[in-house]
């Protein structure tokens, strides 16, 4: 506080304004000091690498021979269009997303409704138990599920056999691997469930009371009140699920030790990227795949938002 004494020596009127001025400058400086770590990190770990990644994607950069790097224009991007691994990895990711995302959305909302119901004894215990598996390290939970789904030593097919169903070879079938991975994904719905519970609790209870007086049943109230009022939260969950699905890696890597078995059915975009960049050392190509992934996720997210805006508008028009 040494500079305040200096300022107080100046004439009366400017004192107040210059004091206020220095105070606000000082406040701004303190603000920048405190957010400094993030600003520096933004430059080193986000902005810089984003630009570098764009440049690398236009080269044939190989970390083992960095001096031999050559600018090759859009060759990497052109190559992707006819690379069977890239095309297959897109297809694989989409196939998985089509099963896993709806399952996750419905299950997380269903469980939220269940554990939020006043008709359930021990709601908080149920909530904790349904949330808990998200805390299990992904590698460990994947190993548990691989064991559980094993046709010889696992339990699931044994249980299905009790009901007279011959269970498939979940892990080694190019078809059943996606439902299998989606089942594993159910252990990760805890966060979405909690967010849904918060959403359910934020719906004003007067609306339900009014609807009940008008003779609406529970399903009608759910469809006409709960779902529309929760639509922003459902959209948020959907976007998060989409991003997570397109980043899918650990479970696929754990399951086949990174090989993408069976028959490349688990060669997800991210796994393919990992192999190209870090196992085959084709970093330029890897960077191009990363940008492809980013563009796909961005476009899908924007489409979702556009679609959602329409839906919300229609819902408003109806009522």
């Amino acid at each position: 506080m040494t500079d305040t004494t200096e300022v107080s020596a100046a004439p009366a009127a400017p004192i107040a304004s210059s004091r206020r001025f220095t105070a606000s400058i000082r406040e701004a400086l303190w603000g920048y000091v405190f957010i400094g770590p993030w600003l520096i990190g933004l430059a080193i770990f986000a902005a810089g690498p984003i630009i570098a990644s764009l440049i690398i994607s236009l080269t044939d950069f190989n970390l083992l021979r960095p001096e031999a790097v050559q600018f090759i224009g859009f060759d990497n991007y052109i190559k992707m269009a006819s690379d069977p691994n890239v095309l297959n990895s897109l297809l694989v990711t989409v196939k998985f997303a089509i099963i896993a995302i709806p399952l996750t959305m419905v299950a997380s909302l269903g469980l939220a409704v269940l554990v939020n119901s006043p008709k359930l004894f021990g709601r908080s215990i149920f909530r904790t138990l349904f949330y808990m598996p998200i805390q299990i390290p992904l590698v460990a939970s994947t190993l548990v599920w691989i064991g559980f789904l094993n046709t010889e030593t696992g339990w699931l097919n044994g249980i299905l056999a009790v009901f007279g169903i011959t269970g498939p070879d979940w892990i080694n079938s190019t078809v059943w691997i996606y439902p299998a991975l989606s089942l594993i994904g159910l252990w990760g719905i805890g966060n979405l469930m909690l967010i849904n519970i918060a959403g359910l609790q934020s719906v004003p209870s007067e609306l339900y009371e009014a609807a009940r007086i008008d003779g609406a049943g529970p399903w009608k109230m759910f469809r006409r009140i709960t779902i529309p009022l929760m639509s922003p939260i459902l959209l948020y969950n959907l976007v998060i699920s989409l991003i997570v699905t397109f980043q899918y890696f650990t479970q696929a890597y754990t399951m086949t030790n990174g090989r993408g078995d069976p028959d490349n059915a688990t060669l997800f975009i991210n796994l393919n990227l990992f192999r190209e960049a870090f196992q085959f050392n084709r970093m330029g190509y890897g960077a191009a795949i990363a940008w492809l992934l980013f563009v796909i996720v961005l476009v899908l997210t924007l489409l979702l938002f556009a679609f959602a805006r329409k839906r919300v508008y229609y819902a408003g028009g109806e009522s």
């Binding site: 405190f34 957010i35 770590p37 770990f45 810089g48 904790t128 590698v139 909690l194 940008w291």
Partner: protein, 360 residues
């Protein structure tokens, strides 16, 4: 009809209060039952894991073996051990020792009464199933413990997670305080950028970051797992900022009048009042780091002595893929710490999710 009888009818009749309460109770009970079935099915793989990890290696592949941990039953007859089989006799199944094997008929002895007359049973003994008895085998855990050098893995995992959490919480608290309490040009725009970094897929920055760390000579060390967290991350900053903003400004102003510097205010006023949020962020980050797979795989793949649990058990699975008892034991040991801590601190976890998830 007398008045009390009519009242009884009203009370206990179909529309009466007892029937209503009964129906409500029935509704609650059936929904709770449904929930119990659902949660049992949801967590059944965990029971599979526990059961398998406590079995002897060959049990799962032996035909007729039970699903719970068990060993083949044996009995003693005239000082010699004999295997016990489930033998169908006269419409019931009895557990009997096989003392004399034969192609057409075999001789069995009741293990509970070895002095009784041996029973001759017609049929091929190979068609019989062995009798099993419940038995826990902790050998798998001991094997995993030594084969994986588990104490070292626990140390690595805990050390990486602790250092990374300290870095993340300290830096995020500074940044959150900056956003919560100071006015500066571009603040709103910067906050939007901060939130936008959540959406940025890490793959886009992955390769350049990897190259930089490799050129710095940090590949094969813990530094790439810890240093980036010194620069705060959006989730933590967001959660802490929300909490800091709920603390009345009068408190900082009082401290400021007493001559406290902003750092001092953060340390002595804001942080002590934000312990729940700090705890939530710490727990989240600690287990994010504990469970992380991709980054350690990238930088520590060739350094077994520095690897955390997640990488080591993935390698272990690749080696022992045909031994489910060992793999399930390893999975159980890997999840033990996160799951126990979760049950102890579940409130902090679950509240944090809702703050970051909904208040956006």
């Amino acid at each position: 009809m007398t008045a009390p009888a009519a009242r009884r009818l009203r009370t206990f009749g179909e529309g009466g209060p007892v029937a209503k309460a009964y129906r409500r109770y029935l509704g609650k009970a059936s929904l709770t039952m449904f929930g119990l079935i659902l949660v049992s099915a949801f967590l059944l793989p965990l029971l599979f894991m526990i059961s398998t990890s406590l079995q002897q290696p060959g049990q799962r592949t032996t035909p007729g073996a039970p699903i719970y941990p068990a060993v083949p039953l044996t009995g003693t007859y005239q000082g010699e051990p004999y295997p016990v089989y489930a033998v169908p006799i006269d419409g019931t199944t009895r557990n009997l020792m096989l003392v004399d094997k034969g192609r057409e008929s075999s001789v069995f002895v009741d293990p509970d009464d070895p002095s009784a007359t041996p029973i001759e049973w017609q049929g091929h003994w190979r068609t019989l199933e062995q009798a099993w008895t419940f038995s826990l085998d902790f050998g798998n855990f001991a094997n995993v413990w030594t084969q994986l050098d588990f104490p070292r893995l626990l140390f690595n995992t805990a050390a990486i997670a602790t250092l990374s959490t300290l870095a993340a919480v300290a830096s995020s608290a500074l940044v959150a305080y900056g956003f919560a309490r100071f006015r500066f040009p571009g603040k709103n725009m910067l906050f939007v950028v901060l939130i936008a970094t959540i959406i940025l897929p890490f793959q886009v920055t992955l390769i350049p970051t990897y190259v930089i760390f490799t050129w710095l000579g940090w590949n094969g060390t813990w530094l790439p797992l810890i240093i980036p967290h010194l620069f705060a991350n959006a989730f933590n900053v967001f959660l802490l900022r929300q909490y800091f903003m709920s603390i009345p400004r009068d408190l900082d102003e009082a401290a400021m009048i007493d001559g406290a510097s902003p750092f001092r205010i953060l340390r002595s006023v804001i942080l002590p009042l934000s312990l729940p949020a700090v705890a939530a962020v710490s727990l989240f980050h600690f287990f994010f780091a504990w469970n992380d797979f991709f980054v350690p795989l990238l930088y520590l793949a060739s350094k077994p002595e520095l690897q955390p649990l997640s990488i080591a058990i993935q390698r272990y699975n690749a080696l022992f893929v045909s031994e489910p008892t060992l793999i399930q034991a390893a999975a159980l040991m890997t999840m033990a710490v996160p799951v126990v801590v979760f049950f102890l601190a579940q409130r902090a976890f679950m509240r944090g999710v809702v703050v970051t998830g909904v208040e956006k």
